[in-house]
Amino acid sequence: LWSPTPLSYGKAGAFTDDNGKAIGSGAPSLNAVNHRSYFTGRTTISSTVPPGRACRAGLPTRARKAFGQDVSLNGQTKHTLYLSSDNDFLATFVLDDELQSHVYDNPSKIFVFAFDQGDLNALGTESTAGNQGWKYVAQPLVTEQFPDFFSPEQFPSFLFGLPAFNPRGGFPFF
C-alpha cells in the first residue's frame, strides 16, 4: 500500500512513548528505490470492517483460488491461478490514519497469477509425497451439454441411474 505523495501522519512531538520520549510524526520516508511512500504499521484498518476482513487496499486476507486456463506470457506458456476476495457484501471499508478516516469502496476483487513448473520447483520438496516436488497436473474437463428437455426434477434419478418420471408423458428419461 503506497502513495506517490508524502503521507500525512500524526503531529511530531505531540505524543510521547512509555519512556517520555517524544515520538515523531510517523510519516514514512520516501522509499529510496522507487520513490514511493509506503504506509507503515501506524496505519490501521478499523471501523466498519474488523481487521482481517476484506481490504481493498491490500491482498485480501480471505480469498479462494482456482486454476484457470493457460496463457502465453512472453512467449512462454504459463499456468494461471485465479484468486477471488470475499468482501463480506460490504460496500465500503474505512482506513484510518492518525488524523482522519478514509472511506474506500470494497468491491469483490479477482486476481490472476501466472506461474510455471520452475516456480513450483522453487517451492522445494518438503511436505510433498515422497519428496518428489510439486508438479502441475492439468485435469481434463469433461463438459456435457444436457438436452433441452433435461429438467431439474429428473436430476436425482439421473444421478442414480434410475428411470425418471417424465412429467410431459414421454418416454421415461431420455
Binding site: R56, L59, P60, R64, D88, L90, I110, T143
Partner: protein, 159 residues
C-alpha cells in the same frame, strides 16, 4: 440476460506496460486484476427484497467464499451465508435469510495493448490520499481481466 461489467480493472498505462513485459522476473506474477462493485446486484431478481439487516437480498458479493474452474473462461463462484457483517442480531451472528446461490462468470483474459493506456478501474473512487493505488500498483500488468456475470442460480433458503 447478460450483464457485462465494463469495469476492467487495469489502470495500466499500456505504453509503459508492454516494454515492461520483458523485465518480468522468474516467479509467480500477478498478470491481471479486476473488481466487481459491492453495490451491484446479481441476476436473482426474485430475491431482491431486503434482508433482515436491510441489505438487498440479491447483492453481488462474498464471492471469495469459493471459486471453481468450469472450462474455457468460465468459473463458478459461491458466496457464503450472505451479508452478515452488518450486525442486527448478535445472538445469531447476524445471519440473515439470504438464499444461497452460485454465480457463473466468464473471466476473460485478454492481452493488454497500447490502446488500453489510461484505462481506469471504474470502481476506483477518488480518495483522500491522492494517487493511492489498490490493491497493487497494477500499471503494467500484461493482461486485462473482464468479468461477466452470466447466471445466478439455484439457491435454497436456509431453514
Amino acid at each position: 440476460m447478460i450483464r457485462k461489467f465494463v469495469n476492467r480493472s487495469l489502470m495500466a498505462a499500456a505504453a509503459a506496460a508492454i516494454p515492461a513485459l520483458s523485465a518480468y522476473a522468474a516467479g509467480p506474477d500477478l498478470i491481471a486484476a479486476a473488481s466487481l462493485p459491492a453495490t451491484y446486484e446479481d441476476l436473482s431478481n426474485q430475491t431482491a427484497g431486503p434482508l433482515e439487516n436491510g441489505m438487498p437480498g440479491n447483492r453481488l458479493g462474498g464471492i471469495g467464499s469459493s471459486i471453481a474452474y468450469a472450462g474455457g473462461d468460465t468459473f463458478l463462484m459461491l458466496p457464503d451465508r450472505g451479508p452478515n457483517a452488518l450486525e442486527y442480531a448478535s445472538s445469531i451472528d447476524s445471519t440473515v435469510s439470504y438464499i444461497d446461490r452460485f454465480h457463473t462468470l466468464n473471466l476473460r483474459l485478454l492481452p493488454a495493448t497500447p490502446s488500453d493506456a489510461g484505462v481506469q478501474d471504474s470502481n476506483t473512487t477518488p480518495t483522500a490520499v491522492p494517487g493511492l493505488m489498490a490493491p497493487f500498483d497494477v500499471a503494467g500488468l500484461p493482461f486485462i481481466l473482464t468479468p461477466t456475470l452470466r447466471l445466478s442460480c439455484c439457491g435454497a433458503r436456509r431453514p
